[in-house]
Symmetry: none
Subunit: 235 residues, 2 copies
């Protein structure tokens, strides 16, 4: 009978604790020094066990802070254009949002270009923080030509614009063009999202089109890097 190395036994022990919800997602687990005492091994050995779990993406180390059970990230399925609200509901999370600003104004140059409008067509620009289960997921700037949302209540626009448009205006959502990139959080955004400046941000820029081909929405979103994941299927 061959005995497994201690660090693999500990790996399995810890995995079981997490699966049994003894340590929940996002929790800080005891420090390496505490755990090495608890398991009766040296810290080097315990670190080896932790490392295997970090490699699997089950744990997450943060220097100076501790070791955490990795967040199961919110995943966006890229099949079908849906809004944030449906996305959260599909994952069993409670969507909410906080509007930072909501103004009708002259479009900027990039907004004019992306939305195929001229300077004399006013746009509605909203800045929002969006939450899933009260945890900030992203900061979003959305621009919509004013004529598209004319006659709608503010609450109808901010809560679930896509659904409102389909129900009240009989406008069908068509394609969406997206570009994804990575950047670091600025001071302002970090504060909104309750993270630190310099943390990783997943930046999404999306132009959404109606089924007749007219662009109707230009959204720039900054997702917290470790709370969000895009999920896509190809072919």
């Amino acid at each position: 009978m061959v005995g497994l190395p201690i660090y693999i036994q500990i790996h399995n022990d810890i995995k079981r604790k997490i699966e049994a919800d003894k340590w929940k997602i996002g929790d800080r687990i005891p420090s390496e020094r505490e755990l090495s005492t608890e398991f009766g091994v040296s810290r080097m050995t315990l670190r080896q066990a932790i490392q295997t779990l970090v490699d699997e993406g089950i744990l997450e180390r943060r220097v100076g802070s501790g070791t955490f059970v990795a967040n199961q990230k919110v995943q966006e399925k890229m099949s079908g254009v849906t809004g944030f609200t449906d996305l959260m509901l599909a994952q069993g999370k409670k969507p909410s949002s906080k509007t930072i600003s909501y103004h009708t104004m002259e479009p900027s140059l990039s907004e004019m270009e992306k939305l195929h409008i001229t300077q004399d067509q006013p746009v509605l620009r909203m800045e929002r923080i969006r939450y899933g289960d009260e945890v900030p997921i992203c900061f979003e700037v959305a621009t919509v030509p004013e004529n598209i949302v004319a006659g709608l209540e503010k609450s109808e626009v901010t809560s679930s614009l896509y659904r409102t448009l389909e129900q009240k205006k009989d406008l069908q959502i068509g394609k969406a063009q997206q570009t994804v990139s990575a950047m670091l959080a600025s001071e302002r955004i970090a504060e909104y999202l309750n993270i630190k400046r310099g943390e990783a941000i997943l930046r999404l820029r999306q132009i959404t089109y109606l089924q007749d081909g007219r662009p109707f929405e230009y959204v720039r979103t900054q997702y917290v890097g470790d709370r969000f994941e895009f999920y896509l299927e190809k072919e």
Copy 2:
């Protein structure tokens, strides 16, 4: 000037010795105990350095025998395994890449899980840096079960694996699952990509399936946040 950890310095020292043919392919290098004396570090530290080279497939450990320079083959330019080449060409950039490692080894825990294989099924793991106009764009780790690529030349695997599989092995590529997220650059990746630690990284993980549903490829790519954009169309 920030000092790199000793084990990374030793990693680089050893790599240089191998590249300078001081230690040739297939040679046994000095034992861990000898090397730790030579570099004036403890054996644990030296082992850490060796480990990084084993991960890259540059060295190979044999219990009871020693550590050997792995059978690394010639590096070559490659194109288009994951569409990188087309992406670069579309932007008018010259694509190129550098293979860091190319090695058959035991799968890691996450590779076993993603590729649906067991520990006794060896995998081919390739690490490479991809460039656009000589500027490093991403670092990529691709893992393929060894039996899938058995009998193929290295050039057939690295240049266009998909095409080779369809032609020589009559295997049809099916779906691919991708997740995109954002993170910060580690020390090692930062060095490869010529950026600083803590800069923004766009991370793509892809599992590619054959048409019969078997997963055959697991790729993890880290793009420099401000040198790359992912473009998608929805619906």
